[in-house]
Symmetry: C2
Subunit: 406 residues, 2 copies
């Protein structure tokens, strides 16, 4: 008799952003007169079109697929060399990070990678996450059986080490009392928009090396870093090659949310239980994945071309102008806000002690603005709310005007 | 202290096709004079370019991505409705199968789906597979911990029910002595190229319903079916909605091996442990996957357009001419061959009692042809060898001539 994976049943409700989408859809159906005025600053989805250099690369590679001589079937397991070389050179070697092309695994996006990476570890590892945090880290560990039950009172899972990131500690995690095994860190942070200095990150690397931990470092937002002392990669820290895996995405720096491309770096020096984690991840990649589309990998390559770089710099600047608009507008309106300087997210304290979901409903009903309730990212996110800078400039301006007028 | 997933260490060596690729690369490097004469009839990768209707759809959707008004970011969790509707109508409803669009989950390919689907089941389920079989089914269950150790003598895994598919039983699995929980079936079959009649498949459906099993039915090769009594979908059988999940691919019917698109059907009536498997798979999809690229989903839609259908019918016919060429040529040369009538694979007995790998080396060295050793698909594949019809017609003719002249 078939049994199901009962770990799935521990998860309360559906995935956060699926929930929000359903709520917004229901609101629009019930209030068709406001259907077209709803502005979403909720899910971190980009709105600017793909840059011309990327469009060109896509057209060109589509044409290649139209002729037998230039057609491309199955991609190499770990990604095409042209892309892995471009990544190694531009994202790592140019910053002084000792990462080579064969330590890079191209994938269909950082969500898949951040969900799948836990598979190569034993079920007995203790997981530490920031709270609030991108829900995929915890949910996928729950699904694997690496946690206990959901604790309704604490609104989180037994057996997970939560590292509170609150106003009091500048939204930065502190070394936990209990030593974890796997430590998920995401900087610049989703959802708080906070950044970590190289010095502070070095302390985590040293801690991980000392205690045999592995850091899973999600750097999906590195393109938004504007401050000098904020590292773009964990491999800027000394010793990270023996304790850290880094996840990267093309979604936010190049607008690939609907194109799907990402990569994971697993240094060959990263060994646990006498096994190279690189070989385990290669085994997973080779067995359960069949490569990102050729045309998408060519699009990824164009991200690193001189034209691509220039165009994407402008695109990031466009979104960061939105971030500043939100940050300044909400500050002026008396909100307590943070983030938005090295990340496209603004984290605000809900007014009048509203819960995160109360504020969600309030904003949707009174201003027709969709944001993301902080509590959706963890218990410590309660009383906070996330707005993204990924809207159009016009919509962002309009949204801030509406909030100011509430 | 971090531990690794020790189940990975049970897997002997790397993924079959990675191994072959390495072997071929080494041969070419050692024998540069034959580098350009090597013909691959090995991995099931297509060689014909994408059909014009698909190229058009790709260009058109790439253009959409270039403008903010028509740009597409994150796709809906389970796939765009335009694609799911086209699939439901063309692949199911037109064949009298009761499958609706919301039972279809669009993915980046059948390899991912066939590897990931086991996650929604408990670790205590007993798995049955054909032997020989596509390695992903067993390998991913090993990685999850649903099997015992690798048994070197039997050359397979403890705790798995292997269903031999040999000449004696027409390469069709028989109901096993021990009742399994999860039953992987792939028809038309990879690697043997064998097909199953509707009547024989109905017996499996009845067995699964009677015993509470779940059939994971891989129909990646259904476009190659030429015989009337061979079902294209398991849902042509009565009662399959309560016992079967179906996996489909665009790789072989539309040449998408480098484009990446597939889907999985989970009927809502399929319940185990009181839980709809549909809801579990939706949870996995929503949490660990972020949709297939918009442009790729539009390309998938074009597969079902009148032009697309006509062009792809020709493409399949092209490959099936290759299959006939191989089948007839090898028969004439005195080989014992099967498959090739409802599938793009030809399964042959190695001559002179050579092992599968011996024949692999022999063909590579003497005729510069790459095939796939049957033993790579399981212990019962020893002494067999797979050739694919996915080469060009010219290469296929040339390869058969070379084999005849050996």
């Amino acid at each position: 008799m078939v049994t199901v994976n009962k770990n799935y049943l521990k998860l309360p409700g559906s995935y956060l952003f699926s929930n929000i989408a359903k709520k917004v859809k229901a609101y629009k159906e019930a209030n068709p007169e406001f259907k077209d005025s709803v502005i979403s600053l909720g899910i971190g989805d980009v709105t600017q079109p793909l840059a011309p250099a990327i469009i060109d690369a896509l057209h060109k590679s589509v044409d290649e697929m139209a002729h037998a001589e230039t057609f491309h079937g199955y991609a190499p397991d770990l990604g095409y060399e042209f892309l892995r070389n471009a990544i190694a050179k531009n994202d790592y070697q140019s910053r002084g990070c000792d990462i080579s092309a064969d330590e890079i695994f191209v994938s269909d996006g950082a969500k898949s990678d951040s969900g799948n990476i836990q598979e190569i570890f034993g079920l007995d590892n203790k997981v530490a996450v920031c709270d609030p945090v991108y829900p995929v880290y915890v949910d996928t560990n729950v699904m694997a059986g690496r946690t206990g039950e959901y604790n309704k009172e604490r609104e989180n899972f037994d057996g997970v080490i939560y590292m509170p990131c609150k106003e009091e500690n500048g939204f930065l995690p502190e070394i936990p009392g209990e030593v974890p095994d796997l430590i998920y860190l995401c900087f610049p942070n989703n959802p708080t928009g906070g950044a970590i200095t190289k010095e502070a990150l070095q302390a985590w690397v040293d801690y991980a090396n000392k205690n045999g931990c592995v850091i899973i470092y999600d750097a999906a937002y590195e393109a938004y870093i504007s401050e000098e002392d904020v590292p773009h990669s964990i491999y800027e820290c000394e010793g990270a090659r023996t304790c850290a895996i880094e996840l990267r995405s093309f979604s936010k720096n190049a607008g690939f949310t609907g194109v799907r491309l990402g990569f994971t770096v697993v240094p060959k020096e990263l060994v646990r239980d006498g096994v190279e984690l690189h070989s385990l991840w290669a085994r997973r990649h080779g067995t359960k994945f069949n490569g990102a589309p050729y045309i998408v990998q060519r699009a990824g390559e164009a991200v690193y071309s001189p034209e691509g770089k220039a165009q994407l710099k402008e695109q990031v600047a466009y979104y960061m102008r939105n971030a500043k608009t939100i940050l300044d507008g909400l500050s002026a309106a008396g909100f307590s806000v943070s983030g938005g300087k090295n990340a496209p997210y603004i984290w605000l304290k809900t007014p009048d002690k509203m819960t995160s979901w109360e504020f969600f409903d309030y904003l949707l009903e009174k201003a027709h603005i969709v944001g993301t309730p902080g509590s959706g990212f963890g218990a410590q996110g309660e009383g906070y709310f996330r707005l993204t800078a990924f809207g159009s400039y016009e919509n962002t301006l309009e949204a801030i005007e509406r909030i100011k007028n509430l």
